[in-house]
Structure formats: C-alpha cells, structure tokens
C-alpha cells in the first residue's frame, strides 16, 4: 500500500497537488489536483471597453502576459474590423519571440535543470557553478530585454494598443538588441551542450498533438488549427474541435479534441512544424533526437531548447527586416462597432485562443478563452497513469521525483489555466 501526496508542487507556476494511491503493484488513483482559486476573468471583462481588455487579460498570467495581450488585441481587431500594418505584425512577432525566450529559459534553467543536476534549486549553485548560473541569468535577461524594448516592460506590456503600438522602440534599441542576440550565440551553444548531456527518462505515450499552422513558417501564429489526428479547421471554429469539461478535482477545466487526451506546446509545434524551424533550430533538434515520431513527454524540455535557438536566429532576421524598412510612427484609427472576433497565438505553453463579442459601443458582451495548460492537464494525468505502474519498484523518493519531473516537463502554468473559464452569458 502506497499513498503519495505532494502538496503545492514546486518549480512550476501556480498551485497543484499530486495524489497517488497504489497497492500490490497496481495504481488505484492518480490525480493532479488543481487548487488554484479561479478569478473569473471572462466574467470580469463583461461590459469593459475594448481599450481596457488587453491590459486586463495580461494580468491572467505574469509569465505569459505578452501572449495574452497579443492574442487579445488580435481578437479585438478582428471584431472591430481593424487592419494592422506589416510593421505592427513584425514588432508583435518579435515581442512573442522575447516572451518565448524568457519563459522557456526560466523553465529550462530554473525549473527543469535542477532535476538533472541533482539539486533542489539553481540558487545553491550560485557559488559552485557560478558560470552556469550567470549564463542562465544572461540568457533570461535577453528575453526580457526584447520584451522591454518592444513592450515597454517585461511583465504586463504598456506600449501595445488596439490597431498597433502607442509607442515605438528607438532604432538604436533595435540595433542593440540585434547585437545582444548575436552575442548570445556562445551562451546558447553552452546551453545546448548542457541539456544534450542530460539523461532524459525514457517513456512514451501516443496522444493527439495540436498546434496552429502557418503558411511556410514555424507555427508560432497562424489562423488554422491542425493536429496529428487530422484536425484542420480555422481558429474561429475552435469550439467545434476542442471540448472543455469539468472534473471534480480541478478548478481548471480539462480539454479534449479527437480522443481523450491532447497535447499542445513546444513538442506539438515541433512535430507539426519541424521543417519550418530555423537552420540552427533544425540542427539542434537533430542533435537532441527530436523528430515527428517523438512521443516522450520528458522531451518537451528539449523541444523548448530547440525553440529558444529558433527564436534567437529568427529574431535576428526579423530585426534586420524591421531596420531595413525603418520604423514609422503610425496612428491607428479604431472605431467601436458590434462584432465578433476569435484569434490564436502559440504562447510558450501552447495554443492560446481568445474570442470576444462586442456591442456597438465597443464594450464586451461575451468573452471566451482557451488556455494551453488546461488543454494539457488530461494528458499529464494520462501520462502519469501509464508511467506510475512502470516505476512502482523504485524507492518512494525516486518515484515521486520522477513523477514531478514529468509534470514539470509540461511547464504547466496553473495560475493561467484556472483564471479563464468558459462563461456563457445568455
């Protein structure tokens, strides 16, 4: 008889407990209890003016506030019939790269690496392996610098507005960013070396992998949802393929598409868009043995590493393009009107969708959001159910460590997943 309860799982965002009950080599119960308090964001948006919506939804999540802002603006712009310029698109993509970098690097070094380095956190290494900790902080800073230059600050951006930007970065700041990205390449190389040296637990379970798809580009944005089970629908029809449902032990809703479980995030993106990775991203993917056949959720950590390399390389090219065009001040014209808009973005943790309906004064009637981590929760539990029986011979401590590593590999953002729940106002 073995019962393991790990309260307030560590090294992840938000609050979850892991409850496992096994006896005679059989798993009786396995739950990821999501105990985060919901904040009813969609309900709170009701009646709010379109100019308030993005700043409010940014507060759903500190670590992906830029993704929430960007997808929110896209949904609002669609509803109000506002077109954005190529310059705005470019700057917003660069901001999305910045967020992926800071979020992935925080996870890679501060949340995942301690498991593989055999420490409880990176902090005790500040003296013994100072170079590693300094490198972690330097790289994380790079992601934040991009967010600061484009969004005005790292958490909860202040320069974004419906239709474009209320303030543009200085050319010199972009030039400086480009230099910083190029200078970071040796640090990236060392990071790849570090992670390629880790022994990733072997385990695999087939599931449905869902992401956006873009024309001839890595699927970081796009207006079509695709999955390994054959889904291909416009984002606006997301509710016809992804179903959210309640489970008794979670204040976050679970989700499914073609089958009982569904994975979104870096591994799903790589599986659906490997050939569109940047050249360096592709070679790192090959070096860490990631390909469309990969089914090991522990390898999501490596998928994150590949995306970091991709975003740095693509970021350099994107800045070049922006500098070549030269930034021009634009004054977006936005008139309120009644309308509906649905948009998606690939946030660090996976496909994030916001959909709004506005009245003719430009105030929210209805809001709906689909959060990456909520889509992954059922998948994490299913992985755990399959993994646990193979580990029951391990000492309790090792077993519990490996289960936490599995949960962590998804980098679940529980703060996010419980703070947006479907509400229908009828």
């Amino acid at each position: 008889m073995m019962k393991i309860t790990i309260e307030h799982l560590t090294r992840l965002e938000g609050h979850g407990h892991l409850v496992i009950d096994a006896s005679n080599g059989k798993l009786i119960e396995c739950r990821l209890d999501i105990v985060e308090v919901p904040r009813f964001f969609e309900g709170l948006l009701q009646g709010r003016h379109f100019s308030d919506v993005a700043p409010i939804v940014a507060r759903i999540c500190g670590v992906c506030s830029n993704s929430h802002s960007l997808v929110s603006l896209a949904a609002t712009e669609q509803a109000l019939g506002v077109d954005i310029t190529d310059q705005t698109k470019g700057l917003r993509t660069l901001l999305a790269f910045g967020e992926i970098l800071q979020s992935h690097l925080l996870h890679l070094y501060f949340m995942a690496a301690p498991d593989y380095l055999g420490v409880s956190s990176l902090l005790p290494l500040a003296k013994k392996r100072r170079e590693l900790v300094m490198r972690a902080l330097r790289l994380k800073r790079l992601g934040n610098e991009i967010c600061e230059v484009i969004g005005g600050r790292a958490v909860h951006p202040v320069t974004l507005c419906v239709g474009g930007f209320s303030s543009l970065p200085e050319t010199t700041a972009l030039q400086n960013l480009r230099r910083r990205l190029v200078d970071a390449l040796p640090d990236l190389e060392a990071t790849v070396e570090l992670f390629a040296g880790f022994t990733i637990p072997s385990f695999s379970r087939d599931t449905e992998f869902l992401s956006l798809t873009a024309e001839n580009a890595y699927p970081l944005d796009g207006d079509t949802l695709v999955s390994s089970d054959g889904i291909r629908v416009p984002v606006a029809e997301y509710q016809t393929v992804v179903e959210e449902y309640l489970v008794p032990h979670s204040t976050a809703k679970f989700a499914r598409a073609s089958r009982d479980t569904l994975m979104v995030g870096p591994l799903a993106r790589i599986k659906n868009g490997l050939r569109f990775l940047s050249p360096m991203g592709r070679s790192v993917a090959a070096a860490v043995e990631l390909d469309p056949a990969t089914l090991n959720p522990f390898k999501i950590v490596l998928a994150r590493l590949v995306e970091v390399v991709h975003c740095v390389e693509e970021g350099i090219h994107l800045i070049d393009a922006l500098l070549q065009q030269g930034l021009r001040r634009e004054t977006p014209q936005v008139m309120p009107r009644a309308g509906h808009g649905a948009a998606a973005i690939e946030a660090p943790r996976g496909t994030l969708i916001h959909a709004y309906e506005y009245d003719r004064n430009g105030c929210v009637i209805h809001a709906d959001c689909l959060i990456p981590t909520a889509q992954n929760l059922a998948n994490i539990e299913a992985d755990l159910r399959e993994l646990i029986p193979t580990l029951l011979d391990l000492p309790r401590e090792d077993l519990s460590r490996q289960l936490q590593m599995l949960v962590r590999s998804y980098d679940p953002c529980i703060s996010c997943s419980t703070h947006l729940l479907n509400i229908d106002f009828v």
Binding site: H8, T10, R11, E13, G14, E36, V37, P38, R39, F40, G43, L44, Q46, H49, P55, I56, R59, I60, C61, G62, V63, S65, Q102, L106, F110, M111, P114, S120, S121, L122, L123, A126, V133, M134, L137, R138, K140, R141, N144, G151, G152, R153, A154, V155, H156, P157, V158, T159, C161, S166, S167, L246, P248, T251, S415, H419, N422, I423, D424, F425
Partner: protein
C-alpha cells in the same frame, strides 16, 4: 547570519515574483546578502522560520487564510508583494459582480467552489508590516524595500503622485488627448512607465495619501469628462480601498 527571506503566492499571476527574478544579475548579488529559503516557483525547499516573507496574491478561501496565517507565524516581517496582495488588485473586479452567479455560470452549481469567497488583500487577515504596490511591482522598489528592512529602517513609499514623475520625465499630459488618466491621484514610484509607453495611468499602485480631489474634479471638468468616466477607470485596480 544572513537574513532568511522567502517568497509565497496566493491568487495572482505570479508576475511580481517574476519581476523579482527578472532582476537577474542583481538577484544574484542579492544572494550575497540574504539567504532565499523558500520560493516555490524555483525551489523545492521549505523553511521553518523566516526573517522576511514576501507574499504575492489575494486571499479568497479559508484554506488560504490558514496558509497565510502559517506564513505569518513563521516570519518576523511580512511584506505584501504587489497589487493583489496589497489591495486585491485586478482580482477584486469580481466585487463588481455577484459571486454566486459567477460560480453558477461557470460550474453549473458544482460544489467545487463552495469555499471560494470574494478576494481580499492580505491585511484583511494578518498583520502586514510593509507593502510594495503595483501591478506588477517595480524591481527597484522591491530592492529598496528589502534594503530598508535589512538595515532595520521602515520602508517608505513615495507620498506624491505619478504626475510628478510624469512631469519630471517631460511626458505630454494624457488629459490633453482627452483621455482620463489616474496619474494625479495615484502613488508615484513607477517612473510613469505606462504614460511613457503611450498608455494612460490606470492606477495600479493605488491612491496616494490624501489625494487632492477638488483640483482633480476641475481637471475632469475642463476636459469635458464626467465622474462616471473616472469611476470606470478606477474599476480596474482600485475596487477595494484604493491602496490605502
């Protein structure tokens, strides 16, 4: 012995703890001066006793009150980290709606949310020794607060409004664009970042002590704005008490 500090969170977005981590190289220097003994987002460790606990997030159920009281018992000094902990922040927008109807709309009368009540700031349940306002907090202000606490001085917050910092930065006045700005009544300390970014002040740092409401009304009138315009603006970060 180095002061033992910890970071804790309740209902919120963890953006304030992230802002601490975003201090990056300064965070590393910080480790020379203090020992971080608990920080769930990046550490497995737990601590029995702390000198300073920084607590993010608001409180909305009995189990969280118990956990908060436990942190209070373990800590010599407790600091509210950010708007949610300080004033219940953007979470408190739910005070504007009927909570039981929100629960029914979302969970079809499920018992899951029976224990969830309207979010409150930390100070509704425990003694808060110091506070760092803002959504998110400003990293420099965090460092200044920590520094004061370490040398045994009471941390001070600016007692003037965001307008002062806005003028010092020579930014154009938001009211000239006929847009309501909470700068005149909001506590400074953010270097008017939002206004510099082309947005307006949305008041995330709460009201300054003794806000001068008469001149503020006059500004509103001059620009043809109504009290309803301003109230709507307050209903983002200042549902509960405006940070006082």
């Amino acid at each position: 012995m180095k002061p033992r500090i910890g970071f804790f969170d309740f209902t919120g977005c963890e953006g304030c703890q992230l802002s601490v981590l975003n201090l990056e190289s300064q965070f590393l220097e910080l480790l020379e001066l203090v020992e971080v003994v608990e920080f769930r987002e990046i550490m497995d460790d737990r601590a029995d006793a702390l000198d300073i606990a920084f607590v993010e997030g608001s409180i909305s159920r009995a189990t969280d009150v118990k956990r908060l009281q436990d942190i209070r018992r373990r800590s010599r000094t407790l600091v509210a980290l950010g708007a949610c902990a300080d004033t219940a922040g953007v979470n408190a927008l739910s005070h504007f709606r009927n909570l039981s109807s929100l629960k029914v709309e979302i969970y079809d009368n499920s018992t899951l949310l029976n224990d969830i009540e309207q979010p409150q700031p930390l100070s509704a349940f425990v003694l808060v020794d110091a506070r760092i306002p803002g959504c998110p907090i400003d990293g420099k202000e965090f460092l200044a607060t920590l520094q004061s606490l370490i040398i045994g001085r009471e941390p001070e917050l600016p007692s003037f409004s965001v307008c002062v910092e806005c003028k010092l930065a020579e930014l154009p006045c938001t009211f000239d664009k006929e847009i309501v700005c909470l700068g005149p009544v909001t506590r400074a300390g953010c270097r008017a970042q939002c206004i510099e970014g082309g947005d307006r002040c949305r008041g995330c740092r709460g009201l300054v002590d003794n806000p001068r409401s008469a001149p503020y009304h006059r500004i509103l009138e001059i620009h043809g704005l109504t009290e309803e315009d301003i109230l709507r603006e307050f209903r983002t970060f200042n549902m509960r008490g405006g940070g006082k």
